[in-house]
Protein backbone atom coordinates (compact mmCIF):
# COMPACT_ATOMS: atom_id res chain seq x y z
CA UNK A 1 0.00 0.00 0.00
CA UNK A 2 1.57 3.20 -1.11
CA UNK A 3 1.10 6.60 0.49
CA UNK A 4 -0.92 7.95 -2.41
CA UNK A 5 -3.33 5.04 -2.14
CA UNK A 6 -3.79 5.65 1.57
CA UNK A 7 -4.38 9.36 1.05
CA UNK A 8 -6.86 8.67 -1.70
CA UNK A 9 -8.62 6.11 0.49
CA UNK A 10 -8.92 8.63 3.31
CA UNK A 11 -10.11 11.28 0.87
CA UNK A 12 -12.82 9.00 -0.50
CA UNK A 13 -14.04 8.02 2.95
CA UNK A 14 -14.27 11.64 4.06
CA UNK A 15 -15.90 12.58 0.79
CA UNK A 16 -18.62 9.96 1.20
CA UNK A 17 -19.38 11.11 4.75
CA UNK A 18 -19.35 14.78 3.80
CA UNK A 19 -21.38 14.49 0.64
CA UNK A 20 -24.11 12.18 1.98
CA UNK A 21 -26.36 14.91 3.46
CA UNK A 22 -25.97 16.87 0.24
CA UNK A 23 -27.25 13.89 -1.76
CA UNK A 24 -30.24 13.68 0.56
CA UNK A 25 -30.81 17.43 0.21
CA UNK A 26 -30.68 17.20 -3.56
CA UNK A 27 -33.14 14.30 -3.50
CA UNK A 28 -35.54 16.26 -1.30
CA UNK A 29 -35.20 19.30 -3.53
CA UNK A 30 -36.02 17.29 -6.65
CA UNK A 31 -38.99 15.74 -4.94
CA UNK A 32 -40.28 19.13 -3.87
CA UNK A 33 -39.96 20.47 -7.41
CA UNK A 34 -41.78 17.51 -8.87
CA UNK A 35 -44.56 17.83 -6.34
CA UNK A 36 -45.04 21.58 -6.91
CA UNK A 37 -43.79 22.50 -3.47
CA UNK A 38 -41.24 25.13 -2.59
CA UNK A 39 -38.01 23.25 -2.21
CA UNK A 40 -36.00 23.37 1.00
CA UNK A 41 -32.41 24.49 0.67
CA UNK A 42 -29.85 22.01 -0.59
CA UNK A 43 -28.02 22.42 2.69
CA UNK A 44 -31.03 21.72 4.89
CA UNK A 45 -29.83 18.24 5.97
CA UNK A 46 -26.57 19.81 7.21
CA UNK A 47 -28.50 22.36 9.25
CA UNK A 48 -30.64 19.63 10.77
CA UNK A 49 -27.53 17.64 11.65
CA UNK A 50 -25.83 20.64 13.26
CA UNK A 51 -28.97 21.46 15.21
CA UNK A 52 -29.30 17.89 16.43
CA UNK A 53 -25.63 17.70 17.37
CA UNK A 54 -26.02 20.76 19.59
CA UNK A 55 -29.22 19.61 21.26
CA UNK A 56 -29.46 17.95 24.59
CA UNK A 57 -29.88 14.20 24.55
CA UNK A 58 -32.82 12.55 26.25
CA UNK A 59 -32.45 8.91 27.17
CA UNK A 60 -35.17 6.58 28.34
CA UNK A 61 -34.63 5.50 31.95
CA UNK A 62 -34.43 1.83 31.02
CA UNK A 63 -32.16 2.30 28.01
CA UNK A 64 -29.20 -0.06 28.19
CA UNK A 65 -25.68 0.27 26.82
CA UNK A 66 -26.93 -1.30 23.60
CA UNK A 67 -29.19 1.65 22.96
CA UNK A 68 -26.31 4.08 23.44
CA UNK A 69 -23.85 2.02 21.42
CA UNK A 70 -26.06 1.38 18.39
CA UNK A 71 -25.79 4.83 16.70
CA UNK A 72 -22.00 4.62 16.75
CA UNK A 73 -21.97 1.07 15.38
CA UNK A 74 -24.45 1.94 12.64
CA UNK A 75 -22.55 5.07 11.68
CA UNK A 76 -19.21 3.26 11.72
CA UNK A 77 -20.59 0.49 9.49
CA UNK A 78 -21.79 3.02 6.96
CA UNK A 79 -18.51 4.94 7.00
CA UNK A 80 -16.68 1.69 6.37
CA UNK A 81 -19.07 0.85 3.54
CA UNK A 82 -18.46 4.31 2.09
CA UNK A 83 -14.73 3.58 2.13
CA UNK A 84 -15.11 0.18 0.48
CA UNK A 85 -17.36 1.12 -2.42
CA UNK A 86 -15.33 2.69 -5.23
CA UNK A 87 -16.77 6.19 -5.59
CA UNK A 88 -13.95 8.12 -7.24
CA UNK A 89 -11.13 5.63 -7.57
CA UNK A 90 -10.64 1.89 -7.98
CA UNK A 91 -8.03 -0.33 -6.41
CA UNK A 92 -8.05 1.33 -3.01
CA UNK A 93 -6.65 -0.59 -0.02
CA UNK A 94 -10.05 -1.00 1.69
CA UNK A 95 -11.71 -2.28 -1.44
CA UNK A 96 -9.45 -5.29 -1.43
CA UNK A 97 -10.34 -6.08 2.16
CA UNK A 98 -14.02 -6.63 1.46
CA UNK A 99 -15.98 -7.81 -1.55
CA UNK A 100 -19.67 -7.33 -2.24
CA UNK A 101 -20.71 -10.23 -0.02
CA UNK A 102 -18.85 -8.72 2.92
CA UNK A 103 -20.55 -5.44 2.08
CA UNK A 104 -23.95 -7.07 2.38
CA UNK A 105 -22.83 -8.45 5.73
CA UNK A 106 -21.79 -4.98 6.83
CA UNK A 107 -25.23 -3.61 6.04
CA UNK A 108 -26.76 -6.54 7.94
CA UNK A 109 -24.62 -5.77 11.00
CA UNK A 110 -25.81 -2.16 11.04
CA UNK A 111 -29.39 -3.29 10.61
CA UNK A 112 -29.26 -5.82 13.44
CA UNK A 113 -27.89 -3.21 15.84
CA UNK A 114 -30.54 -0.73 14.80
CA UNK A 115 -33.33 -3.25 15.28
CA UNK A 116 -31.99 -4.41 18.65
CA UNK A 117 -31.65 -0.83 19.86
CA UNK A 118 -35.21 -0.09 18.76
CA UNK A 119 -36.47 -3.04 20.83
CA UNK A 120 -34.22 -2.19 23.76
CA UNK A 121 -36.33 0.60 25.23
CA UNK A 122 -39.43 -1.54 25.05
CA UNK A 123 -41.88 0.85 23.43
CA UNK A 124 -44.45 -0.56 21.05
CA UNK A 125 -43.30 1.55 18.12
CA UNK A 126 -39.71 0.46 18.38
CA UNK A 127 -40.44 -3.24 18.22
CA UNK A 128 -43.07 -2.68 15.53
CA UNK A 129 -40.53 -0.85 13.42
CA UNK A 130 -37.80 -3.39 13.90
CA UNK A 131 -40.08 -6.30 13.09
CA UNK A 132 -41.12 -4.66 9.87
CA UNK A 133 -37.52 -3.80 9.08
CA UNK A 134 -36.48 -7.40 9.63
CA UNK A 135 -39.30 -8.62 7.39
CA UNK A 136 -38.13 -6.30 4.62
CA UNK A 137 -34.46 -7.04 5.19
CA UNK A 138 -34.90 -10.81 5.15
CA UNK A 139 -36.29 -10.51 1.64
CA UNK A 140 -34.11 -7.68 0.36
CA UNK A 141 -30.83 -9.26 1.35
CA UNK A 142 -31.03 -12.38 -0.85
CA UNK A 143 -32.26 -10.21 -3.70
CA UNK A 144 -29.26 -7.92 -3.26
CA UNK A 145 -26.89 -10.89 -3.25
CA UNK A 146 -28.46 -12.24 -6.42
CA UNK A 147 -28.07 -8.82 -8.03
CA UNK A 148 -24.37 -8.94 -7.19
CA UNK A 149 -23.93 -12.43 -8.61
CA UNK A 150 -24.68 -11.40 -12.19
CA UNK A 151 -21.80 -8.90 -12.51
CA UNK A 152 -19.68 -11.27 -10.45
CA UNK A 153 -20.31 -14.01 -13.01
CA UNK A 154 -19.47 -11.68 -15.87
CA UNK A 155 -16.23 -10.40 -14.38
CA UNK A 156 -15.29 -13.60 -12.51
CA UNK A 157 -14.82 -11.73 -9.26
CA UNK A 158 -16.90 -10.57 -6.33
CA UNK A 159 -14.66 -7.60 -5.60
CA UNK A 160 -16.25 -4.34 -6.65
CA UNK A 161 -12.91 -2.94 -7.81
CA UNK A 162 -12.36 -5.78 -10.24
CA UNK A 163 -15.93 -5.52 -11.51
CA UNK A 164 -15.53 -1.80 -12.14
CA UNK A 165 -12.18 -2.29 -13.88
CA UNK A 166 -13.59 -5.03 -16.04
CA UNK A 167 -16.62 -3.01 -17.10
CA UNK A 168 -14.99 0.36 -17.63
CA UNK A 169 -11.67 -0.56 -19.20
CA UNK A 170 -12.53 -3.29 -21.67
CA UNK A 171 -14.14 -2.71 -25.04
CA UNK A 172 -17.72 -1.48 -24.83
CA UNK A 173 -19.82 -4.52 -24.26
CA UNK A 174 -23.52 -4.63 -23.63
CA UNK A 175 -24.68 -7.20 -21.14
CA UNK A 176 -28.42 -7.83 -21.43
CA UNK A 177 -28.39 -9.62 -18.10
CA UNK A 178 -27.33 -6.39 -16.42
CA UNK A 179 -30.64 -4.80 -17.45
CA UNK A 180 -32.43 -7.30 -15.20
CA UNK A 181 -29.91 -6.81 -12.43
CA UNK A 182 -30.32 -3.03 -12.66
CA UNK A 183 -34.09 -3.16 -12.29
CA UNK A 184 -33.78 -5.55 -9.36
CA UNK A 185 -31.12 -3.35 -7.77
CA UNK A 186 -33.32 -0.26 -7.94
CA UNK A 187 -36.12 -2.20 -6.26
CA UNK A 188 -33.79 -3.34 -3.48
CA UNK A 189 -32.43 0.20 -3.11
CA UNK A 190 -35.94 1.55 -2.59
CA UNK A 191 -36.69 -1.10 0.02
CA UNK A 192 -33.40 -0.91 1.90
CA UNK A 193 -33.28 2.85 2.14
CA UNK A 194 -36.85 3.32 3.32
CA UNK A 195 -37.90 5.12 0.16
CA UNK A 196 -41.45 5.59 -0.98
CA UNK A 197 -43.09 2.49 -2.35
CA UNK A 198 -41.89 0.57 0.69
CA UNK A 199 -41.58 3.15 3.45
CA UNK A 200 -42.15 6.88 3.63
CA UNK A 201 -39.09 8.69 4.99
CA UNK A 202 -40.99 11.87 5.83
CA UNK A 203 -43.86 10.49 7.84
CA UNK A 204 -44.47 9.86 11.50
CA UNK A 205 -47.73 8.09 10.95
CA UNK A 206 -47.67 4.98 13.11
CA UNK A 207 -49.43 2.77 10.60
CA UNK A 208 -46.86 3.15 7.87
CA UNK A 209 -43.50 4.02 9.29
CA UNK A 210 -40.70 1.50 9.41
CA UNK A 211 -37.38 3.26 9.63
CA UNK A 212 -38.75 6.25 11.52
CA UNK A 213 -40.38 3.97 14.07
CA UNK A 214 -37.03 2.42 14.87
CA UNK A 215 -35.26 5.69 15.56
CA UNK A 216 -38.22 7.30 17.33
CA UNK A 217 -36.61 7.06 20.76
CA UNK A 218 -33.38 8.72 19.71
CA UNK A 219 -32.63 12.37 20.23
CA UNK A 220 -29.75 14.79 20.15
CA UNK A 221 -26.45 13.56 18.78
CA UNK A 222 -27.62 9.93 18.66
CA UNK A 223 -30.39 10.95 16.28
CA UNK A 224 -27.93 13.03 14.27
CA UNK A 225 -25.68 9.98 13.86
CA UNK A 226 -28.63 7.79 12.88
CA UNK A 227 -29.85 10.31 10.31
CA UNK A 228 -26.36 10.80 8.97
CA UNK A 229 -25.87 7.05 8.70
CA UNK A 230 -29.17 6.83 6.84
CA UNK A 231 -28.07 9.47 4.31
CA UNK A 232 -24.71 7.74 4.03
CA UNK A 233 -26.38 4.42 3.35
CA UNK A 234 -28.35 5.96 0.51
CA UNK A 235 -25.18 7.47 -0.95
CA UNK A 236 -23.34 4.16 -0.64
CA UNK A 237 -26.18 2.35 -2.38
CA UNK A 238 -26.11 4.90 -5.17
CA UNK A 239 -22.34 4.40 -5.29
CA UNK A 240 -22.79 0.64 -5.64
CA UNK A 241 -25.34 1.20 -8.40
CA UNK A 242 -22.95 3.56 -10.19
CA UNK A 243 -20.07 1.11 -9.78
CA UNK A 244 -22.08 -1.77 -11.20
CA UNK A 245 -24.05 -0.09 -13.95
CA UNK A 246 -22.31 3.19 -14.86
CA UNK A 247 -18.67 2.61 -13.94
CA UNK A 248 -17.04 4.92 -16.47
CA UNK A 249 -14.79 7.74 -15.39
CA UNK A 250 -13.21 6.31 -12.22
CA UNK A 251 -9.65 7.29 -11.39
CA UNK A 252 -6.78 4.93 -10.75
CA UNK A 253 -4.78 5.55 -7.62
CA UNK A 254 -1.52 5.87 -9.55
CA UNK A 255 -2.85 8.71 -11.60
CA UNK A 256 -3.77 11.83 -9.66
CA UNK A 257 -4.66 13.75 -12.79
CA UNK A 258 -7.72 11.60 -13.29
CA UNK A 259 -9.11 12.66 -9.94
CA UNK A 260 -10.86 15.93 -10.92
CA UNK A 261 -12.50 14.18 -13.83
CA UNK A 262 -13.59 11.32 -11.58
CA UNK A 263 -15.02 13.80 -9.06
CA UNK A 264 -16.96 15.60 -11.78
CA UNK A 265 -18.25 12.28 -13.14
CA UNK A 266 -19.31 11.23 -9.65
CA UNK A 267 -21.13 14.53 -9.13
CA UNK A 268 -23.03 14.21 -12.39
CA UNK A 269 -23.92 10.58 -11.76
CA UNK A 270 -25.10 11.21 -8.19
CA UNK A 271 -27.17 14.19 -9.36
CA UNK A 272 -28.77 12.06 -12.06
CA UNK A 273 -29.37 9.18 -9.66
CA UNK A 274 -30.95 11.52 -7.13
CA UNK A 275 -33.22 13.10 -9.72
CA UNK A 276 -34.23 9.67 -11.02
CA UNK A 277 -34.96 8.44 -7.52
CA UNK A 278 -37.07 11.53 -6.83
CA UNK A 279 -39.01 10.89 -10.02
CA UNK A 280 -39.61 7.25 -9.05
CA UNK A 281 -40.77 8.28 -5.60
CA UNK A 282 -43.15 10.88 -6.98
CA UNK A 283 -44.67 8.48 -9.49
CA UNK A 284 -45.12 5.62 -7.05
CA UNK A 285 -47.62 5.35 -4.25
CA UNK A 286 -46.74 3.89 -0.89
CA UNK A 287 -47.71 0.24 -0.91
CA UNK A 288 -49.23 -1.76 1.89
CA UNK A 289 -46.71 -3.50 4.10
CA UNK A 290 -48.10 -6.90 3.06
CA UNK A 291 -47.35 -6.11 -0.57
CA UNK A 292 -43.67 -5.61 0.23
CA UNK A 293 -42.81 -9.35 0.14
CA UNK A 294 -44.35 -9.49 -3.32
CA UNK A 295 -42.33 -6.45 -4.42
CA UNK A 296 -39.07 -7.90 -3.13
CA UNK A 297 -39.92 -11.34 -4.45
CA UNK A 298 -40.13 -9.71 -7.86
CA UNK A 299 -36.73 -8.13 -7.32
CA UNK A 300 -35.27 -11.52 -6.38
CA UNK A 301 -36.77 -13.19 -9.43
CA UNK A 302 -35.54 -10.48 -11.76
CA UNK A 303 -32.05 -10.92 -10.36
CA UNK A 304 -32.29 -14.68 -10.92
CA UNK A 305 -33.54 -14.04 -14.44
CA UNK A 306 -30.52 -11.84 -15.04
CA UNK A 307 -28.29 -14.77 -14.20
CA UNK A 308 -30.31 -17.08 -16.45
CA UNK A 309 -30.08 -14.62 -19.34
CA UNK A 310 -26.35 -14.39 -18.74
CA UNK A 311 -26.03 -18.15 -19.10
CA UNK A 312 -28.19 -18.26 -22.21
CA UNK A 313 -27.02 -15.27 -24.17
CA UNK A 314 -23.57 -14.34 -23.01
CA UNK A 315 -21.70 -17.60 -22.70
Amino acid sequence: MSVSQAVLQLFQGVLAVAVAPLVLGWLNQCRAWLQNRRAPSLLQPYRVLIKLLRKEMVLATNASWLFRLAPYVVFACMVLAGAIVPLVATDLPFARAADVIALVGLFALARVFMALAAMDVGTAFGSLGSRREMLIAALAEPALLMVFFTPALISHSTALTTIVDQFSNGALQIHPSMAFAAVAFVMVLLAENARIPVDNPSTHLELTMVHEAMILEYSGRHLALMDWAHALKLTVYMGIGIALFLPWGMAHPQNWLELPLALAALGVKLALAGAGLALLETLAAKMRIFKVPEFLGMAFMLAVLGMLVHFLVET
Partner: protein, 221 residues
Protein backbone atom coordinates in the same frame (compact mmCIF):
# COMPACT_ATOMS: atom_id res chain seq x y z
CA UNK B 1 -21.06 -1.52 -37.63
CA UNK B 2 -19.17 -4.39 -36.04
CA UNK B 3 -21.00 -7.65 -35.83
CA UNK B 4 -20.47 -8.57 -32.14
CA UNK B 5 -21.73 -5.15 -31.07
CA UNK B 6 -24.90 -5.51 -33.13
CA UNK B 7 -25.39 -8.97 -31.68
CA UNK B 8 -25.18 -7.47 -28.20
CA UNK B 9 -27.71 -4.77 -29.05
CA UNK B 10 -30.09 -7.44 -30.31
CA UNK B 11 -29.53 -9.46 -27.14
CA UNK B 12 -30.24 -6.38 -25.05
CA UNK B 13 -33.49 -5.68 -26.87
CA UNK B 14 -34.46 -9.31 -26.43
CA UNK B 15 -33.79 -9.06 -22.71
CA UNK B 16 -35.97 -5.94 -22.62
CA UNK B 17 -38.76 -7.92 -24.31
CA UNK B 18 -38.58 -10.52 -21.56
CA UNK B 19 -38.45 -7.83 -18.89
CA UNK B 20 -41.58 -6.19 -20.29
CA UNK B 21 -43.28 -9.59 -20.48
CA UNK B 22 -42.63 -10.02 -16.75
CA UNK B 23 -43.84 -6.52 -16.02
CA UNK B 24 -47.05 -7.27 -17.92
CA UNK B 25 -47.54 -10.47 -15.96
CA UNK B 26 -47.34 -8.54 -12.70
CA UNK B 27 -49.22 -5.42 -13.77
CA UNK B 28 -52.68 -5.09 -12.27
CA UNK B 29 -53.83 -1.87 -13.86
CA UNK B 30 -55.40 -2.23 -17.26
CA UNK B 31 -54.22 1.07 -18.70
CA UNK B 32 -50.63 0.45 -17.63
CA UNK B 33 -50.90 -3.01 -19.14
CA UNK B 34 -51.83 -1.52 -22.50
CA UNK B 35 -48.96 0.97 -22.24
CA UNK B 36 -46.58 -1.89 -21.55
CA UNK B 37 -47.95 -3.72 -24.56
CA UNK B 38 -47.26 -0.67 -26.74
CA UNK B 39 -43.75 -0.49 -25.28
CA UNK B 40 -43.17 -4.13 -26.10
CA UNK B 41 -44.28 -3.44 -29.65
CA UNK B 42 -41.81 -0.56 -29.83
CA UNK B 43 -38.94 -2.73 -28.62
CA UNK B 44 -39.95 -5.38 -31.16
CA UNK B 45 -39.97 -2.80 -33.94
CA UNK B 46 -36.56 -1.52 -32.90
CA UNK B 47 -35.20 -5.06 -32.83
CA UNK B 48 -36.54 -5.83 -36.30
CA UNK B 49 -35.09 -2.55 -37.51
CA UNK B 50 -31.63 -3.40 -36.16
CA UNK B 51 -31.77 -6.81 -37.87
CA UNK B 52 -32.97 -5.21 -41.11
CA UNK B 53 -30.20 -2.61 -41.09
CA UNK B 54 -27.39 -5.03 -40.31
CA UNK B 55 -28.37 -7.78 -42.68
CA UNK B 56 -29.75 -5.59 -45.46
CA UNK B 57 -32.91 -7.63 -45.52
CA UNK B 58 -35.25 -5.37 -47.43
CA UNK B 59 -38.36 -7.46 -46.79
CA UNK B 60 -37.91 -6.91 -43.06
CA UNK B 61 -38.61 -3.21 -43.55
CA UNK B 62 -42.21 -4.10 -44.37
CA UNK B 63 -42.50 -5.87 -41.05
CA UNK B 64 -40.91 -2.88 -39.34
CA UNK B 65 -43.53 -0.57 -40.82
CA UNK B 66 -46.31 -3.05 -40.12
CA UNK B 67 -45.18 -3.45 -36.52
CA UNK B 68 -44.86 0.25 -35.95
CA UNK B 69 -48.28 1.10 -37.29
CA UNK B 70 -50.13 -1.88 -35.90
CA UNK B 71 -48.60 -2.77 -32.56
CA UNK B 72 -47.32 0.57 -31.37
CA UNK B 73 -50.10 2.85 -32.58
CA UNK B 74 -53.31 1.22 -33.82
CA UNK B 75 -53.87 -1.72 -31.46
CA UNK B 76 -53.06 0.15 -28.23
CA UNK B 77 -55.31 2.98 -29.43
CA UNK B 78 -58.19 0.61 -30.07
CA UNK B 79 -57.68 -1.04 -26.69
CA UNK B 80 -57.49 2.26 -24.82
CA UNK B 81 -60.62 3.39 -26.59
CA UNK B 82 -62.46 0.23 -25.60
CA UNK B 83 -61.26 0.62 -22.03
CA UNK B 84 -62.49 4.22 -21.99
CA UNK B 85 -65.85 3.25 -23.42
CA UNK B 86 -66.26 0.49 -20.88
CA UNK B 87 -65.29 2.90 -18.11
CA UNK B 88 -62.37 0.74 -16.99
CA UNK B 89 -59.68 3.44 -16.92
CA UNK B 90 -58.96 2.94 -13.24
CA UNK B 91 -59.78 -0.71 -13.22
CA UNK B 92 -57.38 -3.00 -11.40
CA UNK B 93 -57.94 -6.69 -11.04
CA UNK B 94 -56.68 -9.20 -8.56
CA UNK B 95 -54.05 -11.39 -10.14
CA UNK B 96 -54.25 -14.09 -7.51
CA UNK B 97 -51.12 -15.46 -5.93
CA UNK B 98 -48.55 -13.30 -7.69
CA UNK B 99 -45.38 -14.81 -6.19
CA UNK B 100 -46.54 -18.26 -7.25
CA UNK B 101 -47.31 -17.05 -10.77
CA UNK B 102 -43.86 -15.45 -10.91
CA UNK B 103 -42.27 -18.72 -9.83
CA UNK B 104 -44.14 -20.54 -12.58
CA UNK B 105 -42.91 -17.89 -15.02
CA UNK B 106 -39.30 -18.41 -13.94
CA UNK B 107 -39.73 -22.16 -14.42
CA UNK B 108 -41.11 -21.45 -17.90
CA UNK B 109 -38.07 -19.31 -18.65
CA UNK B 110 -35.69 -22.06 -17.56
CA UNK B 111 -37.66 -24.58 -19.60
CA UNK B 112 -37.63 -22.53 -22.79
CA UNK B 113 -33.97 -21.62 -22.38
CA UNK B 114 -33.16 -25.31 -22.08
CA UNK B 115 -35.23 -26.20 -25.12
CA UNK B 116 -33.78 -23.38 -27.20
CA UNK B 117 -30.14 -23.94 -26.31
CA UNK B 118 -29.44 -26.86 -28.67
CA UNK B 119 -31.37 -25.17 -31.47
CA UNK B 120 -29.47 -21.93 -31.16
CA UNK B 121 -26.16 -23.81 -31.06
CA UNK B 122 -27.01 -25.23 -34.49
CA UNK B 123 -28.18 -21.95 -35.94
CA UNK B 124 -25.78 -19.58 -37.62
CA UNK B 125 -27.91 -16.47 -37.46
CA UNK B 126 -26.84 -13.36 -35.61
CA UNK B 127 -30.02 -13.52 -33.56
CA UNK B 128 -29.62 -17.12 -32.42
CA UNK B 129 -29.25 -16.32 -28.73
CA UNK B 130 -32.64 -14.70 -28.59
CA UNK B 131 -34.74 -17.70 -29.57
CA UNK B 132 -34.98 -18.89 -25.97
CA UNK B 133 -36.05 -15.43 -24.85
CA UNK B 134 -38.71 -15.29 -27.56
CA UNK B 135 -40.08 -18.66 -26.47
CA UNK B 136 -40.04 -17.59 -22.85
CA UNK B 137 -41.93 -14.36 -23.62
CA UNK B 138 -44.48 -16.38 -25.55
CA UNK B 139 -45.06 -18.80 -22.69
CA UNK B 140 -45.27 -15.95 -20.20
CA UNK B 141 -47.89 -14.19 -22.32
CA UNK B 142 -49.75 -17.49 -22.43
CA UNK B 143 -49.49 -17.76 -18.65
CA UNK B 144 -50.89 -14.25 -18.39
CA UNK B 145 -53.90 -15.27 -20.48
CA UNK B 146 -54.51 -18.19 -18.17
CA UNK B 147 -54.17 -16.29 -14.90
CA UNK B 148 -56.30 -13.27 -15.79
CA UNK B 149 -60.03 -13.29 -15.39
CA UNK B 150 -61.04 -10.09 -17.12
CA UNK B 151 -61.50 -10.27 -20.86
CA UNK B 152 -59.47 -7.17 -21.76
CA UNK B 153 -56.35 -8.41 -19.97
CA UNK B 154 -56.72 -11.78 -21.68
CA UNK B 155 -56.80 -10.10 -25.06
CA UNK B 156 -53.68 -8.09 -24.19
CA UNK B 157 -52.06 -11.39 -23.27
CA UNK B 158 -53.06 -12.81 -26.62
CA UNK B 159 -51.57 -9.85 -28.46
CA UNK B 160 -48.38 -10.08 -26.40
CA UNK B 161 -48.15 -13.71 -27.43
CA UNK B 162 -48.37 -12.65 -31.06
CA UNK B 163 -45.57 -10.15 -30.39
CA UNK B 164 -43.40 -12.91 -29.00
CA UNK B 165 -44.21 -15.20 -31.92
CA UNK B 166 -43.16 -12.53 -34.35
CA UNK B 167 -40.01 -12.03 -32.35
CA UNK B 168 -39.28 -15.75 -32.46
CA UNK B 169 -39.73 -15.73 -36.23
CA UNK B 170 -37.32 -12.82 -36.58
CA UNK B 171 -34.71 -14.43 -34.39
CA UNK B 172 -34.94 -17.90 -35.91
CA UNK B 173 -35.29 -17.23 -39.62
CA UNK B 174 -35.13 -13.44 -40.10
CA UNK B 175 -38.86 -13.06 -40.40
CA UNK B 176 -41.71 -14.88 -42.04
CA UNK B 177 -42.70 -14.74 -45.71
CA UNK B 178 -44.54 -11.59 -46.62
CA UNK B 179 -47.88 -13.29 -47.23
CA UNK B 180 -47.91 -15.00 -43.86
CA UNK B 181 -46.94 -11.82 -42.11
CA UNK B 182 -49.65 -9.78 -43.77
CA UNK B 183 -52.17 -12.50 -43.02
CA UNK B 184 -51.27 -12.57 -39.34
CA UNK B 185 -51.33 -8.78 -39.12
CA UNK B 186 -54.80 -8.69 -40.61
CA UNK B 187 -55.94 -11.49 -38.30
CA UNK B 188 -54.71 -9.65 -35.26
CA UNK B 189 -56.33 -6.41 -36.33
CA UNK B 190 -59.68 -7.98 -37.14
CA UNK B 191 -59.42 -10.14 -34.03
CA UNK B 192 -59.00 -7.07 -31.85
CA UNK B 193 -62.04 -5.45 -33.44
CA UNK B 194 -64.13 -8.54 -32.82
CA UNK B 195 -62.85 -8.81 -29.25
CA UNK B 196 -63.81 -5.18 -28.79
CA UNK B 197 -67.36 -5.96 -29.81
CA UNK B 198 -67.36 -9.04 -27.63
CA UNK B 199 -66.36 -7.02 -24.58
CA UNK B 200 -69.57 -5.05 -24.84
CA UNK B 201 -71.63 -8.19 -25.43
CA UNK B 202 -70.10 -9.98 -22.46
CA UNK B 203 -70.73 -7.04 -20.22
CA UNK B 204 -74.28 -6.57 -21.40
CA UNK B 205 -75.05 -10.20 -20.65
CA UNK B 206 -73.24 -10.62 -17.34
CA UNK B 207 -72.70 -7.09 -16.02
CA UNK B 208 -68.99 -7.78 -15.74
CA UNK B 209 -66.02 -8.67 -17.90
CA UNK B 210 -65.13 -11.65 -15.76
CA UNK B 211 -64.85 -14.52 -18.22
CA UNK B 212 -65.66 -17.03 -15.52
CA UNK B 213 -69.29 -16.09 -15.93
CA UNK B 214 -69.10 -17.59 -19.40
CA UNK B 215 -68.77 -20.99 -17.74
CA UNK B 216 -72.30 -20.69 -16.41
CA UNK B 217 -73.72 -20.66 -19.92
CA UNK B 218 -73.71 -24.43 -20.37
CA UNK B 219 -75.43 -25.29 -17.12
CA UNK B 220 -78.60 -23.36 -17.72
CA UNK B 221 -80.55 -25.91 -19.65
Amino acid sequence: MSSPFVGQVIDLLAALMLLIAFAMLAQRRLLRLIHLFALQGAVLTLNTMVVAVTLVQSHLWFSVALNLVLKVIVLPMILIRVVNRLGLRRDAESVGNLPFIMLVAVVLVILSFNVALPISRLAGTITRGTLGIAMASMLIAFLMMITRRKAVAQVVGFLAMENALFFAATSATYGMPMVVELGIALDVLVGTFIFGIFFFQIRETFDSLDTRSLERLGGRE
